[in-house]
Subunit: 235 residues, 2 copies
DNA sequence: TTTAAAAACTGACAATAATCACTTTTCATA
DNA sequence: TATGAAAAGTGATTATTGTCAGTTTTTAAA
């Protein structure tokens, strides 16, 4: 569904994004070129293997990015929220999308065509710097995730993933912090890199140990401190 | 050991690097600011957690980059050879080094101080593009590695690592391709993300199955086709 | 409200990989 | 070339995780 545009100049999510410090003029250019589209859970923004024609900027909602392994399994690479850009690394390396992005919480997403984006990148050195800086930070994060994936047990990794989720999507309540995003057991499994059944079993162990609680579809993190310990060391 | 400088202008490795298309003037600036240092196997270029003061460019030899997991284990992140840059993502994200880089094959490495590097980056938009493009490609590679790490068995991953090594360091011989780099079983284990004993056992299986052969310290890849199959599917 | 499908969950079992406690081989150097 | 240390290799055992074959619960739509 194509929405009436909301100008980038007045967009609140923008403040959180790489566009935070663009000039009025640059924002107008992008606003003029972009589309804002409302998406329902389950809709897909782009598919692995197709060619990027621009970049996506999340106004609201949550988008998951998934990569297919050559043996058919799937890896959840990233969860994008308000202010996050999607698909720009493929655009910038002039490659096809390395992964598929799908809405998992109803979202409004702006699409900015390649030319408008590249134009700002070309003309605004500060913006280019910010982009570079952000990508370099991503590399650091990926190195850490790779290290964890290879050197830690599933139990440690799940604990770590829960802590990351609570950092990004956590909302403090009376008892513990609620992860304000619904992920199926299968999706958590694909994020951690394990079988769905293993996630189910570990979550109920964590629950038994009072590290987490379940509130309907949501996970409440009760004991971050102990969870951090579980994430770091074989107990 | 500090060496007499070899000017970037006449450096053969440069053609393989991100510096390939710099102007004469830019190269002179960098040449003037840099140091070339010869390193023996085992010496370390920089340590995880320290602040980058510039970037490293490999003239010859091989450098491994290793990251410590929070549980004390180690992950081999990258093997850099002639023409490869090291430490620039940490520099560009204004962060401490996320990993440690150590020589594993006697090397000559140039150190380019931050200011000289940033100066070229600031003034030469094309160079900045090339850097961005390269980092974005790295992101794609890391996504693939993460997916493999999480979704594949050790056997598949070892097969995949051997294929990657032969692509990068392979030299064709009469029978198969020789991986022209000496890695200990422990280092291969840290690259694949498993125990040393597991690597030893799998390598001798691969040898038994005539996928590889051992020639002293070197590994010969005999059957890339079957190895690719092993890398992709549970047999 | 019924009903079919999807998701969550459980238990048994098998497979994979880690760990430990060695032996053997290789290598550097005294 | 002797020798001690490091690396490679082996075997037995255990722990972890995956797979399969279900049941139960939840959800969405008729």
């Amino acid at each position: 569904m194509r929405d009436p545009k909301e100008a980038c100049e007045i967009c609140l999510s923008r403040k959180l994004s790489l566009f935070a410090n663009l000039t009025e003029e640059e924002l107008k250019k992008i606003s003029a070129a972009k589309n804002m589209i409302s998406h329902k859970k389950g809709q897909t923004l782009f598919y692995e293997g197709t060619k990027p024609l621009g970049i996506f900027c999340v106004r609201s909602g949550v988008v998951k990015t998934v990569k297919a392994a050559s043996n058919g399994k799937e890896q959840l690479i990233h969860l994008a929220k308000e202010g996050d850009f999607l698909g720009y690394t493929s655009l910038l390396s002039d490659d096809v999308y390395s992964s598929t992005s799908t809405i998992i919480k109803d979202a409004r997403v702006c699409f900015i065509p390649k030319e408008a984006f590249m134009d700002v990148l070309r003309k605004d050195v500060n913006f280019h710097y910010k982009v570079t800086e952000s990508i370099c930070r991503d590399i650091g994060n990926m190195e850490e995730r790779l290290t964890d994936a290879n050197q830690k047990s599933i139990r440690e990794r799940l604990a770590y993933v829960l802590l990351k989720l609570v950092n990004t999507f956590g909302v403090k309540g009376e008892k513990g912090e609620k992860i304000e995003i619904v992920l199926s057991r299968e999706e958590i499994a694909s994020l951690v890199g394990t079988a769905t059944e293993t996630i189910i079993r570990l979550l109920s162990e964590f629950k038994k140990d009072k590290l987490i609680a379940l509130q309907g579809k949501y996970i409440l993190v009760l004991d971050k401190k102990t969870l951090s310990k579980v994430a770091d060391f074989y107990q």
